[in-house]
């Protein structure tokens, strides 16, 4: 089964990457965009989706600084906003 793992910096933790992106936007004419945060997307194929949470806690994310969300392909909404 295909799955996506979304990893984000935890709320409250300064994300300098997001800040840098946010600061660049007005120069390109994109106004009114705030609170940009940059995370990671890991796509994978798994035989045992039940183990994904533990995989995330142990390796893909560091729970002290990051939140993760597992999206199984079948559950993803057709327009791709299921993330």
């Amino acid at each position: 089964m295909r799955a996506k793992v979304l990893i984000r910096p935890k709320q409250g933790i300064l994300d300098p990457q997001g800040k840098a992106v946010e600061r660049a936007l007005p120069a390109l004419g994109f106004e009114g965009i705030h609170d940009v945060r940059v995370g990671r997307l890991v796509e994978l194929e798994t035989d045992d989706p039940a183990k994904l949470d533990s995989l995330c806690e142990k390796l893909l994310a560091n729970p002290l600084i990051e939140d993760f969300e597992v999206v199984l392909e079948d559950e993803a909404s057709p327009n791709g906003s299921g993330a």
Binding site: I13, L14, P16, Q17, A20, L59, L60, N62, L64, I65
Partner: protein, 221 residues
């Protein structure tokens, strides 16, 4: 004998080895080695272990040698993690907290002044509280982080080993923290590089104090 770990992507293991050799005997420990018998202390050196893929230190913590280091540390052996080695020890759960990308998003390479806290264990015994040490930093992900209440705990337990001197915090670390120890005090990690500060010829020999703790103390045995 001090063991200096070597991962694919390590780059400071030779300097660390030379620093160790100024205080005792030392050898490199390849990341696939699991037998640490005969070693009195371990250095987890700086660099970019496993390319820093995913997060700095995230993959190195699963190397066979690191499992052996975890056992070594659990038995009370002294372990010094420098820069990437600090990141690896945090990822492995041997030290509290995590290292985030620098606040300014730039790689920083400069001499900084550290101020030692009152901390115990083998590393604290050779350094007095309030002592200043001049040691270089060179890193991209050196912003020490732990939740506020956890930092309170670390401070009251005497686990904060070093802070950047006032106004010298180069990376946005919480409460200027540059290095911490585990609860027992036998594992220490810091972002600055004491192995690059072992000879007055290169500006400072303040880093040597940390390496002395890795040598077996005859009196203590």
């Amino acid at each position: 004998m001090i063991g200096v770990l070597q991962f694919p992507g390590s780059c400071d293991e030779r300097d660390a080895l030379q620093a160790c050799e100024r205080v005792g005997e030392a050898r490199l420990v390849w990341h696939e080695e699991t037998d640490l018998a005969g070693l009195d202390g371990i250095v987890v050196p700086g660099g970019f272990s496993y390319g820093d893929y995913l997060r700095a230190g995230a993959i190195a913590r699963f190397s066979p040698a690191m499992e052996a280091v975890a056992r070594f540390a659990a038995e009370g052996g002294p372990v010094l993690g420098i820069c990437n080695g600090f990141q690896v020890l945090c990822e492995a759960g041997l030290l509290p907290g995590a290292l985030l990308p620098n606040e300014g998003l730039r790689f920083i390479c400069r001499q900084v002044t550290l101020v030692a806290e009152d901390f115990g264990g083998p590393f604290g015994s050779g350094i007095s509280a309030g002592q200043s040490l001049s040691i270089p930093v060179k890193h991209m992900s050196g912003r020490y982080f732990a939740p506020d209440e956890r930092v309170d705990e670390l401070e009251s337990a005497g686990q904060v080993a070093f802070r950047y001197a006032a106004g010298e915090n180069p990376n946005g670390s919480v409460r200027d923290i540059a290095g911490v120890t585990n609860e027992a005090g036998n594992v220490i990690g810091l972002m600055p590089h004491p192995e690059h500060a072992v000879d007055p010829l290169t500006g400072s020999a303040d880093g040597l104090a940390l390496f002395r703790a890795l040598v077996r103390q005859p009196a203590a045995a």
